[in-house]
Symmetry: C2
């Protein structure tokens, strides 16, 4: 439901239009479902607006290839574009084969590539899926992430998903949503199923 009028009109010298179009850092965190799904839904909106979108998946899993990826690849040309990158062997610029032991180095390398792209203003939207984990595991330096995002040039949106977002990340984000689990089928002994979980 649209939110209506802002509560506060800041004295920042910007017009409403300039303020409206300010690029955002968005964080979807919490233990509930919907963090990544909402981010991919956002990418779908961006695609419709003609955006150049970079998706970067940071945690390898059995559900590595999401339905979203297949769907995005089937969207016809003429609107936006979506590039899909995976940590490990999926990173096209990585020389490593992506063994388990190399994940920390791959995550750092992946983040370095994202930094290069941000500096080059390569994408309109960066979807850093499950990026909180390599940060929390110490594989990617949170201060570097915060510094890079806070001072990124041009007009680049960033959405980051994952549990336990670092307070420093929350601090510099424009929009933070916490997805809280109220009830989950796992609690009743139900495992994930296709179409719902991937």
């Amino acid at each position: 439901m649209p939110e209506g009028q802002p509560l506060v009109v800041p004295n920042d010298g910007l017009t409403t239009r300039q303020r409206r179009n300010r690029p955002l850092v968005m964080v979807h965190t919490g233990d509930g479902k919907g963090k990544s799904t909402a981010a991919f839904g956002l990418a779908l909106r961006g695609w419709n607006q003609g955006w150049d979108i970079g998706v970067f998946q940071f945690v390898k899993s059995a559900k590595w290839r999401l339905g979203e990826q297949t769907a995005f690849e089937k969207l016809p040309p003429g609107n936006g574009t979506v590039e899909w990158h995976k940590m490990g062997s999926g990173w096209s610029w990585s020389r490593k084969a992506g063994s388990e032991e190399d994940h920390a180095a791959d995550a750092a390398e992946g983040w370095a590539e994202i930094k290069r792209r941000i500096a080059a203003e390569q994408h309109d939207l960066y979807l850093l899926d499950e990026f909180t984990y390599p940060i929390n595991w110490g594989w990617v330096d949170i201060d570097d992430v915060v510094e890079t995002l806070a001072h990124r040039p041009g007009h680049q949106h960033v959405v980051i998903t994952g549990r336990r977002a670092d307070p420093k990340l929350v601090e510099i984000a424009d929009l933070v949503t916490e997805m809280t689990k109220v009830k989950h089928p796992m609690d009743a002994g139900q495992k994930g199923q296709k179409g719902i979980e991937w």
Copy 2:
């Protein structure tokens, strides 16, 4: 992040596969962003699985036509199908022109149509977007909704979005996620922007 093993294996006489494939009632509620976006992201996954999906938008707004709708319409045939219905003049089976005063009747009529479809097992996934509002406004009877969903035939998933989900709805749902606003650009005087809000 995949959730791993269920905490409890219930003594319900079902195999893991049967339990896994049980159809779900899902609710995305709370004051934060991402309720509808995550539901549309779920629809995208379902589309990729070949599902027949019915989207029913229950609250008219300036952002009536979402980027998701345009994107879904551009997806090629061969996977799932997505039908898009809107309350009011958008309801194809409604004779009304959809004036403001008719909204309550339109919502009731819309719900009656959804009931018919559920009885006929017409869709694999029903996306009832912002359906909590007509329920909370008393336009649609919560007991009828709960009764219909709890005893729906066949294998039909349902996802309902909107703030303040009725406790009776939460009670019968399999999966409930609350999207909580931690931080929103509106708080800093920023209005919604295309690609992000619609």
